[in-house]
């Protein structure tokens, strides 16, 4: 990372005495000014009875200056109409994911049925099924959304996130399962063929090489590798799925295998780029 010129720190200082610290993480003045505003907003909108605001500000800025992603510092990421809780150990939802989730909700909205089933594999914070549920529950009297993740921390966080949908969402509509997608039926109850209206997944898709080369530093240092790089899968499984040449595609191979049994009406998978898309879909 190139060193920032001292004049930039001095100009940051003009915005606020805290800004030079933030600049270390934000790298430019406009984002520094924005993040400072968001941190201050966070403090005023979530009052604390124990810590005075100026101490909280100093504390949050210190965490951010160390490179901790803002979403972990503030504990949230807005996602569609929801505010998704974020915690170390669980991947932060991305804006691309947010965009297509809202698009998917629009498409599903026009499905001419009364009931709907959606399944999200590798669900992380649960953002995808939770937003689908929030957008569609008024439209479908019988709506079921399932999320699967292998990480206990992710499943716990997803269940916490379900609470903001109110008792209805938490109690009946959305269910989170702790399982590996490589286990039989991905740990899900049996679905008759054609029962699932939409299957989504944003699985770990970054190759080892790309992880070292093209991920941002705060991603590499602070987000869980398990969520990003699919290299924990046993070699025998990778071989059985025919992914020796491109092991980063192994989750897609497994998901498509699951789809052959479930026969979902629609499948939506997030991939890294056009090349990976070509290998997975063609």
């Amino acid at each position: 990372m190139p060193r920032l010129p001292p004049s930039l720190f001095w100009r940051a200082h003009q915005i606020s005495p805290h800004a030079p610290n933030l600049l270390l993480a934000c790298r430019d003045l406009p984002s520094t000014a924005l993040e400072l505003r968001w941190i201050k907003d966070h403090i005023t909108t979530t009052p604390s009875t124990t810590t005075p605001p100026f101490l909280r500000l100093a504390h949050l800025i210190r965490l951010r200056a160390r490179g901790l992603p803002l979403q972990y510092v503030l504990g949230t990421q807005p996602f569609g109409t929801l505010t998704i809780r974020c915690r170390r150990g669980v991947l932060i939802p991305r804006p691309e994911t947010e965009s297509y989730t809202l698009e998917l909700a629009d498409v599903l909205f026009r499905t001419p049925t009364r009931s709907l089933t959606v399944v999200d594999l590798c669900t992380g914070t649960g953002c995808i099924p939770l937003q689908l549920f929030a957008s569609l529950r008024a439209r479908f009297p019988s709506l079921a959304a399932h999320g699967v993740d292998v990480a206990p921390g992710a499943v716990a966080l997803a269940r916490e996130n379900a609470r903001q949908l109110g008792p209805l969402g938490a109690a009946q509509g959305v269910t989170f399962h702790r399982a590996s997608i490589f286990s039989p039926a991905a740990g899900l109850p049996p679905f008759p063929a054609g029962e699932i209206d939409l299957l989504t997944a944003n699985p770990p898709y970054i190759s080892r090489g790309a992880f070292a080369r093209s991920t941002a530093r705060s991603v590499r240092n602070h987000e869980p590798r398990l969520a990003l790089v699919p290299d924990g899968v046993p070699a025998s499984v990778v071989a059985a799925l025919g992914c020796e040449a491109f092991p980063e595609d192994v989750f897609y191979a497994r998901i498509l295998e699951l789809c052959r049994g479930w026969r979902p009406k629609r499948v939506f998978l997030e991939v890294a780029d056009g090349e990976q898309a070509g290998r997975v879909f063609l």
Binding site: Q71, P78, P204, A216, S218, D273
Partner: protein
């Protein structure tokens, strides 16, 4: 032909138009009010009487609305006629045989004349159609003019002037967008940031009417903090005033979906882009900004928004700003058109002309339309009461201009021969 603005004297602005002797003579009989305007007021008042009679016989909400709209003209005309009558009475007393009475009349005549002028002004204001956006809340948009850092810094000063003015006045205002530029330059900028674009929403109803006179080019003359030789620079910031909707939104949404409305935008004509840093996205990066850019394809108008952490909120605000900009553009096109068919009236209010100068060395703020100078620039830039006066002067100028425009319309109707010999 008239000369272009600025009008120097506000209270008698119309006397500058074709200020010929004959016209002054003619005015004497109309209490200083142009006859065309008076004739129009009488016509409107007659209509009001007729509508009132009609309503008594048969109530119709549509008729009632029209009657309500023009009732202020009828009331103002009534006051005007009464004031004129009492002035005429005083005039008569000047010829009285009683010396004491004559003295009394002479004392009163001056104040009565002043009153008539004021009442006449109120009548003209009543006759001026309200701007269709005047009752709405507004967005104040500030951007630097072309040029470097100094213009950006001044734009920031202008923006904070409006922000603190709203705070001082107790208006409900919020910053919708505040985008600074990452500009190379000196560190010492006196607390001003290099502004790229900022938008303040003033949610009070009628804010558009209060601020519409602020739209235009604002010029600064000062020694920039970044200037080492002490030379005075001139830079500009541009202010746009756009109509907006009350936050409760019910009126807004019905208007947004009505293709007849200025605020209607066909979603198919808008391209939406989510802006990200170049290179890999998705899992590779975890940027906090979720900027959105909308482009209205038919007009090429673009709006970008990244002030909120929430993509949905950015999208919502971007749409709000886009609707406001398009509505304002549509309105301006219509106004320009109307103006261009009005012969002989040249008005200097196009965007390109500076409306105001802020001169730091002379501690002065000049409004070029009202032609007024205001001292105590610090107070102006802090959005204090002097700035309130500056805004007022621009607002009154606009009212005068609107009056000029109906006048021009009225005179169009008068046969030209009559116009030339008019008066005596």
């Amino acid at each position: 032909m008239i000369t272009a603005a600025p009008w120097v004297c506000r209270s008698c602005a119309w006397s500058l138009r074709r200020a010929s002797a004959s016209q002054f003579m003619r005015r004497a009989s109309t209490g200083g009010l142009p006859p065309a305007l008076l004739a129009r007021a009488r016509k409107v008042a007659a209509e009001h009487d007729q509508l009132s009679a009609q309503l008594e016989a048969n109530y119709d909400p549509k008729v009632a609305r029209r009657a309500g709209e023009i009732s202020r003209v009828a009331t103002a005309l009534n006051v005007f006629e009464k004031t004129k009558a009492s002035l005429a009475e005083l005039d008569g007393l000047l010829n009285s045989d009683d010396a004491e009475l004559r003295d009394l009349a002479r004392d009163d005549i001056e104040s009565a004349t002043a009153e008539l002028t004021e009442v006449g002004r109120q009548l003209s204001v009543a006759l001026t159609p309200k701007h269709p956006f005047a009752h709405m809340p507004c967005l104040l948009e500030v951007r630097p003019g072309p040029g470097g850092l100094e213009g950006r810094l001044f734009a920031d000063a202008v923006f904070s002037m409006y922000k603190t003015y709203c705070e001082n006045m107790g208006y409900r205002a919020r910053v919708v967008k505040y985008e600074t530029a990452d500009e190379e330059g000196m560190g010492r900028t006196g607390g001003e940031l290099a502004l790229q674009e900022a938008v303040l929403e003033v949610q009070d109803e009628g804010a558009y009417g209060l601020f519409r006179g602020e739209a235009g080019v604002h010029r600064v003359q000062r020694i920039p903090v970044t200037e080492k030789t002490g030379r005075v620079h001139t830079s500009v910031a541009v202010v746009w005033v756009l109509p907006s909707f009350p936050t409760d939104g019910t009126e807004a949404e019905s208007d947004w979906e009505n293709p007849e409305s200025d605020f209607y935008i066909d979603p198919a004509e808008v391209r939406t882009e989510t802006m990200r840093a170049r290179g890999a996205g998705g899992q590779h990066v975890n940027k906090t900004e979720s900027a959105i850019r909308l482009t209205h394809i038919p007009t090429g108008t673009t709006v970008s928004m990244q002030d909120s952490r929430s993509q949905s909120t950015n999208r919502k605000w971007a749409w709000m700003l886009l609707r406001s900009r398009i509505a304002q553009q549509r309105r301006e096109v219509r106004e320009e058109h109307a103006r261009s068919i009005r012969k002989g009236l040249i008005l200097n209010n196009s965007r390109g002309d500076k409306i105001r100068t802020y001169n730091y060395q002379q501690d002065r703020c000049t409004d070029h339309r009202s032609g007024q100078d205001f001292h105590n620039l610090t107070n102006v830039l802090e959005g204090g009461e002097v700035f309130g006066k500056v805004i007022k002067s621009a607002e009154s100028w606009l009212v005068e201009r609107d009056i000029q425009e109906i006048l021009a319309d009225e005179e169009e109707v008068v046969p030209s021969g009559n116009k030339k010999n008019g008066g005596k």
